[in-house]
Point group: C2
DNA sequence: CCCATCAAGTTTTACGTATAACGTGCTCCG
DNA sequence: CGGAGCACGTTATACGTAAAACTTGATGGG
């Protein structure tokens, strides 16, 4: 007889079905083969449904010593990129009976401070992107299984890493622009201390160093349309021959670059070719549509979760960076004649 | 003496400090005034820090019968809108010692099926947006405190609701366009069965009905750039006088409308005025910048969480819709002369 | 001087679950 | 016909925490 106000427990179900609480646990946990007869099992299932029984997860977690919950630490949710990473991770997690709790760094893009304080959840593991070393060591000290997304393989304190092959993406961008005939490059770099942006700069510089006669200048901007607008405007007004190709660290910066070009009276792509990186919905919303590097954010999240599952089970995570590929659209063209 | 492999418990701390487990619980729970001496309390705190003790949340949740965790059910994370709702809700939640678990409907925009199956978490309450009635009754049956976002006040089964004043937003749009001189309207409506879209149509029709000489046609599209492009193209090619003002249910649809206009050889805003609704980052990324209705998504999330806190504490949630306001940019202008 | 009060703890219990360990009859084989 | 084994359960216990109920020794007021 249920008391009505509080949620039914397995004991309530047991009483309703005329069996012991242990029998209920066995039947509902699918561990009853050869231990409970089929008719009895059916009685239990009926009673559970009738009472609307759902197991108390806190009790189960305590008993089993695990929570089937993992934390995803992301820099922010200001674009759909990390939302998609979450979606991918959550899908794989759900397939394995796990839930994902999201922790977007309150400071926005940049290092996360204390991912545990506000994540009011007991955790079995952590997937972290762009995290500061101190928070990282805190997690390591907790002995929690950890997977890092897009992080320096050397500096991640031995944690497993899953990376997008950004280096190759930038190389493809450079290759494309060089083939079009560009020689004077401007790099619009995100002013954020993060491995994933560092390697963009390195990859671009490395590829251009292989082709004599090329020049590379760099402008830095915070990741915002207005920041990119200002930085690009300044860079375009600098003395000397104007760059003909503008390589942006991500799509959002490219939007700012479009605006700066327009203000400077330059047409994209006739006077200035622009490239992005991410392939957000933004890329096809603007005119001309943006030539950019497609990052499969959902796959990124999936791979991250899969790697975490591997770590938690003591297996070795899948190796290899996630391939990315250039999507050529209308924002790149041969450079103008002098 | 810690066993090294497993996480320290309050009992380990007790042993290290030479007190009972109860004393540890009292001290660390800040309930020790007049029950434990200051020196002893200090010993406990030191031991806890030394061992790196963090309480087992599963055990705490079981003991206290609450989890300080709530679920946020959203249609999808394909735009930054619900990401911001989450951010706002999570911030308020953190201030009150709550965590927020996200449940993006796997079906994308539209009704959510079973929010509990994959949310591997014990919950104290639910905030739900655009949810199907069946899942809603499931939650109600669970007796969980519930707050609905942007839902029909009549049809929410008595749950508390927090709504944006969309009706007023559309009214402002209509007012603006009418003042510019527009009389022939096209409504690009989201083809999604949801209260929040229904009231857009009603509000627009209601306002135009008040001004004689106006006409209103409606095109329906799924919420995607391509869908909006196709629907708008068809609508613009229809016989009869062409509409001069295109009111879109959200910003994403407006992007598709821009593309359709461009393909039809129409200039925005000279030949066709376009409005959106949301004021996503998208709105200022496109050219011309979009006249739209600014929705404060973070505030929406905050209000939702605050309302849920009120419901959980047996208080009455704050009344009143959240005001929205028109942001006039470059996509609207007086209609062309015949 | 004796009981009430109080500080400073300790002992015990309950939360709901999963499962190891422990009964019961009954069947069936040697 | 005796007991080994099986089918079908039950009883008991542990997970780690919070807090109610209890203990103990000292103090102090009437």
């Amino acid at each position: 007889m249920a008391r009505g106000s509080t949620r039914p427990t397995s004991r309530d179900v047991a009483q309703a079905a005329g069996v012991s609480q242990a029998a209920v646990s066995l039947v509902l946990g699918d561990k009853w083969r050869g231990r409970v007869s089929e008719p009895t099992a059916q009685r239990v299932r009926d009673a559970a449904r009738r009472l609307g029984y759902r197991p108390n997860l806190a009790a189960r977690n305590l008993r089993l010593g695990r929570t089937r919950t993992v934390l995803l630490v992301v820099p922010a949710l200001t674009t759909e990129f990390f939302a998609e990473v979450y979606t991918g991770a959550a899908r794989v997690a759900a397939q394995h009976g796990f839930g994902v709790v999201l922790y977007p760094s309150p400071e926005g893009v940049g290092p996360a401070r204390d991912p545990f304080a506000s994540a009011q959840a007991a955790l079995d593991g952590v997937i972290a992107s762009s995290m500061a070393a101190d928070a990282l060591t805190a997690i390591r000290g907790d002995q929690l299984p950890l997977v890092m997304l897009d992080s320096d393989p050397e500096g991640s304190l031995g944690a497993a890493t899953v990376n997008l092959d950004i280096t190759d993406g930038i190389r493809q961008v450079a290759e494309h622009l060089l083939a079009l005939g560009h020689r004077r490059f401007l790099h619009l770099a995100a002013d954020v201390p993060s491995w994933t942006f560092e390697i963009r700069a390195r990859a671009l510089a490395a590829r251009l160093a292989d082709t004599p006669g090329t020049t590379l200048r760099t402008a830095r901007a915070p990741i915002s349309v207005d920041g990119a607008l200002a930085a690009t405007e300044t860079a375009l007004a600098a003395p000397g021959p104007r760059p003909t190709a503008l390589v942006c660290d991500d799509d959002k910066l490219a939007v700012g670059a479009y605006k700066a070009a327009r203000r400077a009276g330059l047409r994209v792509p006739d006077d200035l070719s622009v490239t992005g990186l991410d392939d957000l919905g933004l890329a096809t919303a603007i005119d001309p549509e943006l030539t950019t590097v497609r990052l499969d954010a959902e796959l990124f999240g999936e791979r991250g979760m899969r790697a975490l599952l591997a770590v938690m089970e003591g297996r070795t995570p899948e190796e290899g960076d996630i391939p990315v590929h250039l999507v050529v659209r209308g924002s790149t063209a041969p450079p103008p004649h002098d």
